[in-house]
Assembly symmetry: C2
Homo-oligomer: 203 residues x 2
């Protein structure tokens, strides 16, 4: 296996293990074993465990665009142009929750890194949270100007909406994996959350 490939493979293995057990809870030996190489190989490609962590953040930062594919989703942009509020928020909710569900490891990684307060993690969060709030907030402002939504701080509405989505996903990933408290499809959740929010902020 070539250098680049091996490096990539070790990196992916590390992401997987960090997302399962956190940075401190994962040993370089485990990473090596899971990647099917010796521990020395890990240190050949990454000078230290910290360097491995930084490489992950760089990778994930560069993949940033792909973290929010729904911001360029055609159906969504169409709905926004038509000002079909329900379609807009339903699609945002559905795509976000589908993404969370299919990328649970990444969600866990973000939580671990947030808790562990690595310097670069906060930069990562800020960058993307700011973007989402602007994206949805701007749409709400437009609809307020249209007189379709009542006059409240747009970011509060975004906070409320993202709260529903993220909390629901976190429940499914962390606390209620068996769905004993609430067992609904992402479509049903998206429908309900979009409806609650829109009724909640309409004029």
């Amino acid at each position: 296996m070539s250098g680049g490939e091996r490096r990539e493979q070790i990196l992916e293995t590390a992401v997987r293990l960090f997302s399962q057990n956190g940075f401190n809870g994962t040993t370089t030996k485990e990473i090596a074993a899971a990647a099917g190489v010796s521990e020395a190989m890990v240190f050949r490609h990454f000078s230290s465990k910290d360097a491995l962590y930084e490489a992950i953040l760089d990778t994930k930062s560069c993949q940033g665009e792909s973290q929010f594919p729904w911001t360029t989703n055609k159906v969504l942009l169409d709905a926004m142009a038509r000002k079909d509020d329900y379609e807009v928020f339903y699609n945002i909710a559905l795509h976000a929750m589908n993404k969370h569900q299919s990328d649970q490891g990444f969600m866990r990684l973000l939580l671990y890194f947030a808790l562990e307060e690595h310097a670069l993690a906060s930069k990562f969060f800020k960058e993307f949270v700011t973007r989402i709030y602007k994206f949805i907030g701007d749409y709400i402002k437009t609809r307020q100007a249209d007189g379709a939504m009542r006059d409240l701080e747009p970011n509060i509405a975004v906070r409320a909406f993202m709260g529903m989505l993220l909390h629901h996903s976190l429940n499914n990933i962390l606390w209620d994996k068996k769905r004993t408290v609430l067992n609904i499809s992402n479509e049903e959740a998206a429908d309900n959350f979009a409806t609650i929010l829109l009724n909640g902020i309409k004029k």
Copy 2:
């Protein structure tokens, strides 16, 4: 210092450090130093680091009642009796978020334990989440029977509402400590969240 006192003190120190750096990120040496005793003393009172972890869960489980003081809050119970929906949800939101704010360490601890998937942690979550959903869900059912709220699965409404509260608190604790994205008081947040939810689910 007597045995019981010292044990208590070590336990509290451990809770603080675990909440800051997680279980794996905290050493018994650090705990001993922070508690002002030798490392041997930690192991005299707790046979292992794992035993320390279990003792924390036991303690926190027993303190369960005090984790949700608002379920017995007089103002809230009054509002429920009067069926003053806004007062009910405003007070739930405000008390919950105030609690989160004053007990950020405990919030972090819960997140760490959820991520680290210790067996007893899930028991802890299940016990209390179930209780909250029943408490609020029952009220919503009553109001639906009154014809005041529309016919949706009560637990979905609870999920949406708890999502707003918890996500807002998590933002303040983890990602947006400086409040650069959204800087509002708990009162303002409670007012907005209660209003959004109630408009969102009223008939």
